[in-house]
Symmetry: C2
Subunit: 391 residues, 2 copies
Amino acid sequence: MENFTFYSPTYFVFGKEEENNAGKYVKRFGGTKVLLHYGGGSVVRSGLLDRVKASLSAEHIPYVELGGVKPNPRSGLVYEGIELCRKEKVDFVLAIGGGSTIDSSKAIAAGTVYSGDFWDFYQGKLVEEALPIGIILTISAAGSEGSADSVITNENGMYKRGATGEALRPTFSILNPALTQTLPPFQTACGITDIMAHLFERYFTNTQEVEVTDRMIEGLLLTMIHEGPRVIEDPNNYEARANIMWAGMMGHNNSCGVGRIQDWASHDIEHELSALYDCAHGAGLAVVFPAWMTYVYKHDVMRFAKLAVRVWGCQMDFANPERTALEGISALRRFWKSLGMPSNFAELGAKEEDIPQMAHTACYGDGRTGTLGNFVKLHEEDVANIYRLMV
Amino acid sequence: MENFTFYSPTYFVFGKEEENNAGKYVKRFGGTKVLLHYGGGSVVRSGLLDRVKASLSAEHIPYVELGGVKPNPRSGLVYEGIELCRKEKVDFVLAIGGGSTIDSSKAIAAGTVYSGDFWDFYQGKLVEEALPIGIILTISAAGSEGSADSVITNENGMYKRGATGEALRPTFSILNPALTQTLPPFQTACGITDIMAHLFERYFTNTQEVEVTDRMIEGLLLTMIHEGPRVIEDPNNYEARANIMWAGMMGHNNSCGVGRIQDWASHDIEHELSALYDCAHGAGLAVVFPAWMTYVYKHDVMRFAKLAVRVWGCQMDFANPERTALEGISALRRFWKSLGMPSNFAELGAKEEDIPQMAHTACYGDGRTGTLGNFVKLHEEDVANIYRLMV
């Protein structure tokens, strides 16, 4: 196991109707003027936005609003939010939504107190300071409600890049599974896929002797396999949604990822797809991950076999562990397909002729230095080969 | 799943030689005058205490010392510590040791800023304020390095009682697995037992639909079963100790216990044993838990069967799940025995004739109201019957 630090000071409030206490928590964590940041659509239609406003008003906390966050959130709105926060002397950013809204909020919170261009953080500068952030989560997926990370797409070149830093951990996160019950099945399935992908990114490591985090990851994956189909079958299943919601947080707050070198090549490979075709991140991951696995499994057959046996319940083929490893990958494909996820370029709306450009941008675009991932270091040609496995 | 809040703002620093940075972290978390609290013995002999002092001096942070914490820490030393902290205007308590030292430090930290008797907290008053606490952990066991809890024995009546409150969460905890390598095998095994017991207390619940926390608990138990024997066989196995150390923290910071009513009867039953005979808490738990399980398993045979299958690898007897449930309990007995743990009263030095007194004190002593536990509500007679299963 590698040395590490772990710091997750977010106050989690989990359960029914807790969003009505948002104002109380903003007050507790020192907010005196709030930016309410959200996408639109269902947050407005469902009355959630109005209820959160009422909870702020009940605590006499003034707020300004910035809606319009889109999936794969863009830098343009971030700049707008930073300007608004500075002009209005906002000291607390309250996100109502999923990963896109949260990530946009984090970018605004960091950018507001930074004298340079916020994009610096998305090119590798550590975020050491930000306005405090509060979350009202409406989709279990990104895990951004408990993480120190944010991903934004720069419209100047359509680069999708991540930033990190402890200052990006939310001060509080309100997790009410009932808020996710109105999601369309496809969005729910994208979220399930994203949560599982976060776990795979951590699972595939060359760090030896990490049984505790292996077992935690496996336990969270088993939870997703158990609860995922239940929630697709019955979107109103609060209990299944509750289990998924906590798994999504635990899967990405990094308590199960400490002490091990993580991979993250698949996320980088996917980011090109969602940046270029604006597909849902989860849908992109469902196409990328099995291809990545197929390309790299020979690097550590036993780790893939372990996943197959422990998580997918495959029988270990002691004479031919490779067969078990491949069975695990097949089981993953079948599982995501059963949730309604795409499995190839055509279903994503991606085009084979864009592969060379995507592989190049993934490896060299906007400050990248030529390789992706850690489990296996991938070069441009590898990335192109992986894309080809998705066609 | 039940509604819950979860807040674990401790900064964890994990790895080799990190104790030499203790002064840096005290400074980071605002300490300007420190109480160094410890037991004695190996902390002094190994030079650890001197190294921590040097790290404080390097940051120009003055300190006072209070050694002498004993296993099953006592109220007398807590009162002494409170007086010392007030007199010396200490604003930070730094614990060097295991659960006993940490719990004693928490009691001192809470008592120093409280106008009443600190024992109020151990009779049910929530701890809302305390001096900040830092930890240098020397044994994986209690999980107190990440928890909001503390257990103290009141010498006036030998009541062993717990306190809780978010203010008891350490501000930072330094976890260096190498510091645990010098522990005698018996102490190491007691720690392993204690960690597993914390997981069992959470696992046995009547709350339905808690797959995510079930799976996390099972994953941590599987880790202990994998790593425990390795570290008993080779005390210098840093990697096995590292996995156990993180499992111990994760097992008790409550991220795997949220949203479910936990039991904790076995801890209460054990506390009478360690209060009366001053046996090691882990050793007591090794005797209590199989007896408690045998007494209550019929309340939910399927939950016991699930544990047996998922954690102990037992074959499910679909015609007779009760047989599987009992096989799981046997497997637990065998496992703890293999680590050198006691399994009955005689090995603990406990006496059958004390059973009525212990059962009475457990249920009615010092403010208790007659029942223990939640999975099955135990009355005085039940508790006596469980003690009798240990003879």
